[in-house]
């Protein structure tokens, strides 16, 4: 029960923090159309966040709803992976972060549509439509920019090299993930990792980018609440109003 609560928090927090970060780019996209697309992705992720956190709160049974979970937990209680709290950086950094996340997210949601938990199956079934689109979009842009000009390729390669150490945390299963696999709630990690790496390799080949070694050392800790200092700043901005006026209706 507590493992499932933690597992749901991880899903919700990933979507929430990435959505929050993408929202910072509203009005700052390189073109109007990109701006719209990125905002749409952010909204999709926020919608998913609400489903995950609402379910997590119900399961916990301590009266915490989506808002309390989002706005009244501090960084050490957040369970998002480190990848999503990485800074937006240049557009290449934003897109690369998105592509790495979308790949894992897509194959995870695909696995979760066969979860033993009915509610999770429903959330995954709803999410996978959106995530399919996210992955197609970010993969397409990675190829366009990787196989674009010398400058865009260099920027994409730099983004990939810098973000790579955060790409493996999702595949480092701990006792919570393992408990979920045992209960049939979550998909096993081997297939998930293989599907994700195969897809990344394919896209990076098309994008003429050099894929770093999948066995490289990977940064970890986000899923357990050990975050980079960046998350504190994200939450300070996100939670300000609720902290200043706690319990206010909105």
């Amino acid at each position: 029960m507590d493992a499932k609560f933690q597992y749901l928090l991880r899903q919700g927090d990933n979507a929430l923090i990435l959505s929050q970060q993408l929202c910072q780019l509203v009005g700052k996209g390189p073109a109007l159309e990109e701006d719209m697309a990125l905002s749409n992705v952010a909204l999709d992720l926020l919608g998913q966040t609400r489903m995950w956190l609402t379910y997590a709160g119900e399961l916990e049974g301590r009266g915490r709803d989506e808002d309390r979970l989002a706005f009244l937990r501090d960084a050490i209680e957040y369970r998002n992976c480190l990848l999503v709290e990485q800074p937006n950086g240049s557009y290449a950094d934003t897109l690369m972060r998105q592509f790495l996340f979308d790949t894992w997210h897509y194959f995870l949601m695909d696995g979760l549509t066969r979860s033993s938990d009915e509610r999770i199956r429903e959330i995954a079934a709803k999410s996978i439509k959106e995530v399919t689109y996210h992955l197609r979009r970010s993969g397409d842009l990675v190829v366009r920019l990787g196989d674009g000009t010398d400058q865009s390729r260099a920027m994409m390669q730099t983004a990939l090299d810098e973000l790579w150490m955060y790409s493996g945390e999702m595949f480092l299963y701990d006792e919570i993930d393992n408990a979920m696999v045992e209960q049939g709630v979550a998909p096993g990690v081997e297939l998930l990792r293989k599907q994700s790496l195969d897809h990344m390799a394919e896209v990076f080949t098309d994008a003429t980018l050099a894929m770093p070694s999948p066995d490289a050392w990977m940064q970890r800790g986000g899923k357990q609440g050990r975050h980079s200092e960046r998350l504190g700043f994200i939450l300070a901005e996100m939670q300000f109003l609720q902290r200043a006026y706690p319990g206010a209706a909105w």
């Binding site: 073109a31 109007l32 159309e33 719209m36 697309a37 749409n40 689109y133 979009r137 397409d140 366009r144």
Partner: protein
């Protein structure tokens, strides 16, 4: 190469719509991205829609100065208007 992305015209057939309607235009570097962008900008991703995009440069428009010659039909010639035939029930959407 121009830095400005070319202009595309967007036509969308909605879920229960019978024909594609012009809904607006957007800028995109190529057709595939024009479709993707049209989806984001004009459909909000409703299921069951069909999108057409066409380069604005490929569309030839009639000239407003030809208005009379093109669009003022001789209404007195009733035989030009096939309104004397009762339509069978089975024929829909005419």
């Amino acid at each position: 190469m121009s830095k400005e992305w070319p202009l595309w015209e967007v036509f969308i057939r909605s879920q229960h719509g019978l024909a594609h309607k012009h809904v607006g235009s957007l800028h995109a570097p190529d057709a595939e991205m024009a479709i993707n962008n049209a989806r984001d900008v004009y459909t909000r991703r409703n299921e069951g829609v069909s999108i057409w995009v066409a380069r604005a440069a490929d569309i030839v428009a009639s000239s407003p100065s030809d208005k009379e010659a093109l669009f003022d039909p001789a209404n007195s010639k009733v035989y030009r208007h096939p309104t004397f035939f009762p339509m069978p029930e089975e024929v829909k959407n005419l």
